[in-house]
Structure formats: structure tokens, C-alpha cells
Subunit: 71 residues, 7 copies
């Protein structure tokens, strides 16, 4: 079995795609997280149908996150 | 009686269909979960009326999940 | 007095109708629950005005449930 | 002073009117409750402007309840 | 300093106006409360622009309350 | 570093502007608060584009507050 | 690994951009925070497409925050 936080641990320093509750999609390198699934992303980009917005380093509150996909 | 988490346990490595609060439907192999019903899915697909989107491995936060149906 | 969880206990293996927060109505046999009112239903059907959708076995998160009516 | 749960206790086996968060109004006999204000109602009716729907016995999750009025 | 619950205590048996999250305004005599700001109101009235609805005694769940104004 | 509750403490008996989740703006003298950021305001006014409504003393539940600005 | 609160700590007295749940964007100097991600900002500005509103010192409740970007 793969515990969710164990997969987070293995994903540190790898690129992830995040879906937020407000339907925004963020991509970036996961550099940290805590037990509430708060996360630190680096080189973060917000991707829309026709747009990329560079956000750099971002601290994300876990309760806004729907899903995390390692690349 | 079948406790909900006991059924989760029995469903590990089997295919499930998930309904999320935002009405998205995900299908994939459940490879892990924790006591908050955070889950790890592999070979995940998001299915709409006329579309399948491949998401690969996904970590899902339990508080966005409405229901889990083992296949 | 009838404690809510005591009535849940008496309802195990009986048919129930559930109202969810998103206004969906599910009917099925309650085969398990826990203290968060997470539930396991079998032979579950989602009923709309003009439609029945068979869902089979379903694990439901309690925080999406408004009310539970034993038949 | 009248503590809210003490008034719940005194209202057991009496008829109540409940307002839910989704604006539905339920009337029925309160036969039980717990410290989360989960409740058991019997002979429950949902009342709209022009309609009465009989629901029989209902287990209600407290976090959907706005207010409880003893008759 | 006036602690919020200390002001609640001083307001027992006095008339209050409550604003709920769904924008309803209730007026009544506060006869009790607990640490979750659940409250008991007596002689409660719901007041709209052009209407008064008598609700009598009401148990209110605190998490639906925005603000409490003693008269 | 300025801890949020330490700044609340220093703001007692001073005028503040509050933004609530429902976008209402309240101004008044902060006379008390607790660790949940429940607050007591005196001489409270609700300010809209073209209107001032006097609310007098108000107990506010912290979970409806977005931000607090000392004047 | 960079823990989210450790990055908050390193960001004290630096300028940040905050995205709130209601889609407002605030910029200011982070002068404090606590474990709930409540924050104190100084020289805060709310930025819209075509507008800057000066808010000065602001205490923000953490549960309204989606993400924090150090400049």
C-alpha cells in the first residue's frame, strides 16, 4: 500500500500538477509539505487554456487543494 | 457489519470510481489511503459524458470526495 | 431516548434512503458505518425524477450526508 | 439560564420544527439527539408552501441544522 | 477588555438581534448559550423588510451566526 | 515579529475596520476578542457605498472575519 | 525539504503577494504569522486590474488564504 503522505515524501523535488478547489491548475517543483498538506512549490506556473502565469515560489494552504499529480 | 475503512482496505489494488464534490468522476486503481480518506490512485482517468482525460498517479484529499465505488 | 448512532446500529442490513448535500438521493442496504457517519451501502441506486442509476457498493463520506431514513 | 442541550433534552418526545441550511423545513417528534446535535425525528414531514412530504423516521446530521423550534 | 463570552453572559435575559449567515435577522430574548455560541432565544421574531414572523422559542446552532447585538 | 493575536491585544480600545466573508465592512471600537478571533465591537457602523447603518455593540464570530485593519 | 511554516519564518519582514479565497490579491510586508497561518501585513495594498487600494496594517485570518508568494 502507498500512503498518501509517503507518496508526497517521494515526490519532494519533483514536478507536480495541482488542482485547486477554485479550478485553478498550478505546476511546479514540490519542495516541501506538512501533515495538513500545506505545500511549498518552486518555479510555479498557473496554466489556463491559453495562458501561462509565472508565480515563482508559492506556499499553498492544503485545504484549497483537490489533487496532486506527480509528473 | 462492514466498516467503511475496512472496505477501503479490501479495495486496495482494485479499481474504483470516485465522485468528487465538484461532480468530477475519477476512475483508477486505489493503491493507498489514510484515516482522513486521502487516497492514492494509479492509472487515473477523469470521465465526462464525451471525454476521457488521463491523469496517471493522483493524490486526492479526502475532504473533496463524496463517494467511492469499488468496481 | 433514541441516540442517532444507536438507530444507525439497528438499521444495519436494512434498506435506507439517503439525502446528500448536493440533493442527490441514494437508496441501498446499509451494511456499515463509523462514528463520522461514513457509511457502506450495497445495491445502491441513485433515484431522480425519471431515472434510476445502479451504483452497486458505495462508501459514502459522512460529511456529505444530510439525512438518513430507514425504510 | 437555559443551556441549548438542556432544552434539547426537555424537548425529547415533543414535536419540533427544524430549519435546515438548504432552507428545507422539517417537522416531527424529536426522539433523540447527541452532543453534535445529530437528531432522530419520527413522523417527520417536510413542509413547503404547497406540499407536505412524509419522511417517517429520519436521522439528521447536526451540521445541516440552522435552528430547532419546539412546538 | 470585554471577552465575547463574558458579554454573552451579561446579555442573558436581555433582547438581542442576531444576523445569520443566510442573512436572516432574528430578534428575541437570549435565555442561554454555550461555548460554541449555540443559543436559546425566546419570543423570537424573524424580521424582513416588510414582514414579522413569530418563531417562539428557538435553539440556534452557533456556526450559523454572524453577529449578536444586545439591544 | 508581530504575532496576529499580539496585534489584536494592542488594538483593544482602538478603532478598527473589519471585512467579513459576506463582503460587509464594519467599523467600530474593538473592546475585546478571544483566541478564536471572536470579537466585541462598540459604536459599530456598517458602511456601504452610500449608506451608514449604526449597529451599536456587536459580538462577532471570528469565522466570519476575513481581515482586521486597525485605524 | 522546505517546510511551509519554515518558509513563512524566512519571509518575515519581506514583501509577499497573497491570494484570498474571494480572489482578492493583497500585497504587503509580512510582519508576523501564527500556526493557523493567520498573518500580519504592513503597507498592504489590494490590487485589481485597474486599481490599487491602500489598506495599511492588516490582520488576516489564515482560513481565507489560498496561497502566499514571497517576492
Amino acid at each position: 500500500m502507498v500512503m498518501p503522505l509517503a507518496l508526497m515524501e517521494k515526490t519532494v523535488n519533483k514536478k507536480v500538477s495541482l488542482l485547486l478547489k477554485d479550478n485553478r491548475v498550478l505546476e511546479g517543483k514540490l519542495t516541501g509539505y506538512d501533515e495538513y498538506m500545506n505545500m511549498v512549490l518552486e518555479d510555479t506556473e498557473e496554466r489556463n487554456a491559453d495562458q501561462v502565469r509565472r508565480l515563482g515560489t508559492v506556499i499553498l494552504r492544503g485545504n484549497n487543494v483537490v489533487s496532486i499529480s506527480p509528473f
